[in-house]
């Protein structure tokens, strides 16, 4: 649809602009202010320049947390994207069965994030949880509250359980948009199943997959409440990701300057990645 150029449209956008500016710009400005000062209390602040940034950038603990975060987000994408595509390919195409499948698959997405943590906290316990109990019965020594690797795998498994449905739903709606004629043509050409997937389905899924990768990366990048409930960030700090490190710093220790500098760096990373994806999405839209 061709849009009309009209700057009066700003009046319609103004409420959104003001509301989001109130809850995004004012806080952002405040964070910038905090990040260059050492604050002891109301009216007691020293200007320290870029000290906090320097400290945050060279802090080993924060670097570890950042590396852990990237490792986690990478693992999340590596597992959930292929698995989600697989599930979407298996889902029935239409009818009541299709709708039913859709809803059952979507259930984990509707659960409050802290309850997701609670579910897995119970489910993975060795004494009262089915999963932990079953693993222990198989003769493996599994304990997510004590063992670093187990904790990691549990958090990862929880996230796969929680968010793979999102990838599956997106791919499913992408697959349904492929015209039947494409498949018929492939059948006439006696294309193999792999060829159909590689040359018909996958290219058509491109724009949906960009969104899936964007959402999964960003949401796993800000994961907080699920691991907080499940492991509390432990054992040690093995499952403490960026948001939790930041929250502890800001609310727990009330270390305003450092937390603010950290927030800004965190925000810049997010901004860069969202921008890359946004550009990719607008380009995919244009090609259509």
């Amino acid at each position: 649809m061709n849009k009309i150029s009209d700057n009066r449209a700003w009046w319609l956008v103004l409420p959104v602009f003001l509301l989001v500016a109130f809850s995004a710009l004012i806080p952002l400005m405040t964070v910038v202010n905090y990040s260059v000062q050492d604050i002891f209390g109301p009216g007691q602040a020293y200007y320290v320049g870029t000290e906090w940034f320097k400290e945050v950038l060279t802090d080993q603990r924060l670097r570890d947390s950042l590396i852990r975060q990237f490792a986690f987000s990478g693992a999340v994408l590596a597992i959930q994207i292929p698995l989600g595509i697989g599930v979407a390919l298996m889902m029935p195409k239409s009818g009541v069965k299709g709708s039913l499948c859709l809803i059952l698959v979507a259930i984990p997405l509707l659960i409050p994030w802290n309850v997701v943590g609670t579910i897995w906290q119970i489910f993975a316990r060795g004494d009262i949880g089915l999963f932990g109990w079953a693993i222990n019965q198989m003769g493996m020594d599994y304990n997510y509250t004590g063992d670093t690797l187990d904790a990691w795998l549990t958090v990862l498994l929880m996230d796969v359980w929680h968010w793979t449905p999102l990838v599956a739903l997106l791919c499913y709606s992408g697959l349904r948009a492929i015209p039947e004629a494409f498949y018929q043509a492939a059948e006439i050409d006696r294309a193999s199943k792999w060829a159909v997937f590689r040359y018909i389905q996958l290219p058509r899924l491109k724009s949906v997959l960009i969104i899936a990768v964007l959402l999964r990366f960003m949401d796993s990048f800000m994961i907080y409440i699920e691991p907080f409930v499940l492991t509390g960030g432990g054992p040690g700090s093995s499952t403490t990701f960026l948001s939790q490190t930041l929250t502890t710093m800001a609310i727990g220790q009330f270390d305003l300057g450092r937390a603010a500098a950290f927030s800004l760096i965190y925000f810049l990373i997010v901004l860069l990645i969202s921008w890359l994806f946004f550009t990719a999405i607008t380009h995919a839209d244009k090609e259509k």
């Binding site: 910038v32 260059v36 604050i39 200007y47 870029t50």
Partner: protein, 91 residues
């Protein structure tokens, strides 16, 4: 009311400069609207896109300077400004 925001002169100057840049760009856009064009960047960009890319990379340039060296940030600022101008002109 705004005491909790702990304004300092440096940050005020920083935001004032940002607002000034945005205002100038807006007026410029109203006077002479620009169209997308392809420069040395791999994608087609408008003036506003190039400004955003410039500002974002300026932030990263500053952070890199802080992380790996003790050189004064004025050096980073100079590089950023030159980079921003190159982007706006040829990006």
């Amino acid at each position: 009311m705004v005491a909790w925001m702990n304004w300092t002169p440096t940050v005020m100057v920083f935001f004032a400069v940002i607002v000034a840049i945005l205002t100038v760009m807006t007026v410029y856009e109203l006077v002479a609207p620009c169209t997308e064009r392809k420069g040395f960047l791999p994608i087609e960009t408008t003036r506003g896109d190039r400004l955003f890319i410039g500002l974002l990379s300026a932030a990263y340039i500053h952070l890199t300077f802080l992380a790996v060296s003790d050189i004064t940030l004025w050096a980073a600022l100079t590089i950023s400004v030159i980079w921003l101008l190159i982007l706006l002109r040829w990006g």
